[in-house]
């Protein structure tokens, strides 16, 4: 399976097969095609990569059930002072307001449940579509 990034002025699009092994390559493809200058290299190398890996991992695992016949769609808006990443799956969605605090002592030794918490700390804004099967991550310059 190969990934094909479509680049147009101001945006990029990528369809990612629902296979967790594709997450790393998809993240690298997007991160390496960001135009220089909007976000600092450090924010691209850590915040953007980690947040995108989280969003893709969640969409593939929970949204599309790791079914390689299904795809997760990534669309990147490139603004003068922001990068906005939309990750949408074709699943049933979920309610992002009902996620336990992973830093609570009772949850600290749990293996899963930190994804949204991590995303919220790494990007400037997180939004979900109404159905709950799409997440929008915004990283601003500065």
């Amino acid at each position: 399976m190969s990934l094909q990034l479509q680049v147009t002025p101001g945006s990029m699009r990528l369809d990612v097969p629902s296979d967790l092994r594709m997450v790393g390559d998809a993240v690298e493809l997007v991160a390496s095609h960001l135009p220089p200058g909007t976000l600092s290299p450090r924010r691209i190398s850590f915040n953007l990569r980690t947040a995108l890996a989280e969003a893709l991992g969640n969409a593939i695992r929970y949204g599309t059930g790791e079914d390689p016949r299904r795809k997760v769609r990534v669309r990147v808006e490139l603004g003068r002072d922001f990068v906005r990443i939309h990750v949408v799956d074709d699943g049933n969605g979920f309610d992002p307001s009902h996620t336990p605090d992973p830093t609570h002592p009772d949850n600290l030794e749990r293996e899963f449940g930190r994804g949204l918490f991590v995303i919220r700390h790494l990007v400037d804004d997180v939004a979900f579509n109404e159905k709950g099967n799409g997440i929008c991550l915004t990283l601003r310059a500065g």
Partner: protein, 111 residues
């Protein structure tokens, strides 16, 4: 991305993580460490000095491995976190769960 396992002269297994530890490769790391545990190793250091980023699945596998190693009477230490990774451990409060040292050498000396 790749994982390297080396055993030092006192029997501590040092695991190097090159690239990233994320949802797509977490199982590979888990299996390598569990294999070493099964073969009798009890002391582990995971060296992140060549690691760019870790997602929540990567953090989760460390939590899981730490528990399994402790259940066998062993210990897992972490080393070489850059400033961003250190912040990630602090905000998730996982810095309270792991012994973290600046370098793998310091982790080895602390065993």
């Amino acid at each position: 991305m790749r994982f390297t396992l080396k055993k030092d002269k006192s029997g501590v297994v040092v695991v190097g993580v090159e690239g990233q530890l994320i949802v797509g490769n977490r199982q590979e790391l888990k299996q390598k460490v569990l294999d070493a545990l099964e073969e009798g190793s009890r002391k582990f250091v995971i060296d992140f000095s060549k690691t760019g980023y870790i997602d929540s699945s990567g953090l989760g596998v460390l939590v899981s491995l730490s528990k399994k190693i402790r259940e066998q009477g062993g210990e897992l230490r972490l080393a070489g976190l850059n400033a961003d990774l250190q912040t990630l451990f602090e905000l998730t409060k996982l810095d309270t769960l792991f012994a973290i040292t600046r370098t793998a050498e310091e982790a080895l000396a602390a065993f």
